[in-house]
């Protein structure tokens, strides 16, 4: 304990994070995922939309009939699966980041306002969020995309809107518990006005649960984007987005298992890794769960 305390906040965080084996594994997988997404054009052997007409629906290389030129086989249009998966990581990562940033910044702002506002405005914001939460999230996202028109950008907007209420509630709850503490009162006595109280005094003390929520909703965003893609409401072909790839290959499930299995496994592994990492974050950042 004393060792952990002397290393500053970051060292302390790592001390607690390290305890959770799954979280560390998740972190490494997530790091690999981020690396692949960042350097996709350098890592992928081919262009993700390039078609090899002479090798359509080739099985993975280690199976009879496979070719080491296409390690994970090819899809019905003769495109290299590996290249498409690597580029797909890019889209998933992009979706995750954009959705989390939009949902978190909007949600934190609304939550702060709700936490500090007079009762009527607080009730108004929270009831509005309750209405959004009352819809099944994917269904609401579907409706929104149907209104906005199917594209990856609109899918991201829809998912961000659906995920936002969680941030609002989380932020408001933390703000309400922090707001009455003496250090906030003394900032007021020092003359701090509302914006300063909200962003400089209170917000940094509410961040721990929000960071955990951000990590966990990163995976929700990827999953929802894949689901929307699968339903034809997300990224449009020929974009190598994992969910869209699944949808395109649906009819070949029985004939060529690899065209659906690999994108599915990619989604599964990424989401699982991020969730494990998020759990570790929660353990490390939530003071109530800390062993002392």
């Amino acid at each position: 304990m004393s060792v952990a305390l002397r290393q500053g906040p970051l060292g302390e965080f790592w001390y607690y994070f390290r305890e959770n084996r799954g979280a560390v594994i998740g972190l490494w997988v997530f790091a690999a995922f981020a690396f692949v997404a960042l350097f996709a054009p350098l890592l992928a052997p081919y262009d993700p939309t390039q078609q090899f007409r002479q090798s359509v629906l080739l099985p993975p290389a280690w199976i009879a009939g496979g070719d080491w030129a296409f390690p994970l086989g090819t899809d019905p249009l003769g495109r290299d699966m590996l290249s498409r998966l690597i580029h797909g990581a890019r889209y998933s990562f992009f979706v995750g980041i954009v959705v989390v940033v939009v949902a978190a910044s909007g949600g934190i702002l609304l939550g702060l306002i709700a936490g500090f506002a007079p009762k009527w405005l607080d009730s108004l914001i929270m009831r509005l969020m309750d209405v959004i939460l009352a819809f099944p999230s994917l269904l609401l996202a579907l409706v929104l995309v149907a209104i906005l028109g199917p594209s990856l950008t609109n899918a991201m907007i829809a998912i961000a809107l659906v995920l936002q209420p969680h941030y609002v509630r989380l932020t408001r709850a933390s703000v309400l518990s922090e707001r009455t503490r003496d250090y906030v009162v003394s900032a007021r006595v020092a003359g701090a006005r509302l914006p300063r109280l909200m962003f400089v005094t209170v917000l940094p003390n509410c961040l721990a649960p929000i960071i955990v929520q951000a990590a966990l909703s990163f995976s929700t965003a990827i999953l929802d984007a894949a689901a929307l893609g699968f339903l034809g409401m997300g990224a449009q072909p020929p974009t190598p987005e994992w969910g869209t790839m699944l949808a395109e290959a649906r009819e070949f499930i029985l004939r060529a298992w690899w065209v659906v299995t690999f994108p599915g496994v990619a989604i599964l592994v990424t989401v699982l890794a991020i969730n494990l990492m998020g759990d570790g974050l929660r353990d490390a950042l939530d003071p109530k769960l800390k062993r002392s």
Binding site: Y183, R188, A190, G191, A192, T201, P204, N205
Partner: protein, 319 residues
């Protein structure tokens, strides 16, 4: 006697609770009709058990909440919510709990710099830094604490930091809301001595809120005893401590341990509880617990009367 720095007249504070959408809100009278004056460089102690309105008084005087009725003035300047911003640097507060009153995410330098950054916009960064270091030295904090976080300090050092923050704007009045009751006994005396030294050196005026009579006896010049939001006895320290006139004051004093076996007195034990501030009795609030209560006490409220040493009781002890 110099003109009072802080003058309050009939201060009251009423909270509304409950109500909701349909219910009628109920009133809590946390503070009713409190008046006092404090001269420059003096200390007024406010004592009473928990729930008697001491902290509400602190919050009103520190301009955290407006009074529901009554008025108060600092150096002759009437305080109204519209003028709060300009009067911030006249009154500052030190809270009871040094673990809750410092922002855990800010360094000591940032905590001490904040009042200057907000209220002294003309100062440059270097001037503010110099001022922070000066005040740190004043309250006995070592210069190397400058960049540390609050969680690295003990309770006593945190309270020094809280005092330093209160002093940053060079206030005339310092409200001390039980500044030592969360501290160890050995640290208490250090902090009290620091406060008295600062008062002498900077000419500060203290409103010292406490339930600990031995601490109050040590620091104050004048005493105000409160019961259920009202002052029941006020006067100079010697008068109140040596010749208490209100039965409640006598009971409080008899409950304080004395380090003098020869002066052992019999202890007055109070039965019953503080009445609920939601439902304040018509007469004297203390009547239900008082051994001298007469029918008149339950019907009428005794006014705070007397010259200098004032008491709100129909049957005061002989001064």
């Amino acid at each position: 006697m110099t003109a009072p720095v802080l003058m309050a007249e009939g201060l009251s504070r009423v909270y509304e609770i409950g109500g909701g959408l349909f219910g009628k809100p109920r009133e809590i009278r946390a503070l009713s009709d409190v008046s006092f004056e404090i001269a420059r460089g003096r200390t007024l102690a406010v004592v009473g058990e928990s729930g008697c309105g001491k902290s509400t008084l602190a919050r009103v005087v520190t301009m955290i909440e407006p009074p529901s009725a009554g008025r108060f003035a600092i150096d002759g300047a009437e305080v109204t919510p519209a003028r709060w911003a300009g009067l911030r640097d006249a009154v500052q507060i030190v809270f009871q709990d040094p673990y809750g009153s410092l922002n855990p995410r800010q360094r000591i330098s940032a905590i001490l710099d904040e009042p200057l950054r907000i209220n002294r916009k003309a100062l440059s960064r270097a001037e503010r830094e110099a001022k922070v270091r000066e005040v740190m030295a004043l309250v006995g904090l070592r210069p190397e604490f400058h960049d540390r976080y609050p969680h690295m300090f003990s309770g006593g050092q945190r309270q020094r930091i809280a005092i330093a923050r209160a002093l940053m704007l060079e206030p005339r009045v310092l409200v001390l809301d039980e500044p030592v009751s969360a501290l160890d006994l050995s640290v208490q005396s250090q902090i009290l001595n620091l406060l008295m030294e600062l008062q002498e050196r900077l000419g500060l005026t203290y409103l010292f809120i406490s339930h600990d009579l031995s601490v109050v006896r040590h620091v104050c010049d004048e005493v105000m005893v409160m019961y259920l939001g009202r002052a029941v006895e006020t006067g100079a320290k010697a008068q109140v401590f040596d010749h208490p006139r209100h039965p409640y004051t006598r009971a409080l004093l008899s409950a304080t341990p004395l380090a003098d076996p020869a002066r052992r007195k019999e202890r007055i034990k109070l039965t019953g509880e503080l009445p609920s501030p939601l439902n304040i009795p018509a007469g004297c609030a203390f009547a239900a617990r008082c051994w001298k209560a007469a029918p008149r006490c339950r019907a009428e409220r005794p006014p705070l009367e007397g010259a200098g040493h004032r008491v709100a009781c129909f049957f005061p002890e002989a001064g």
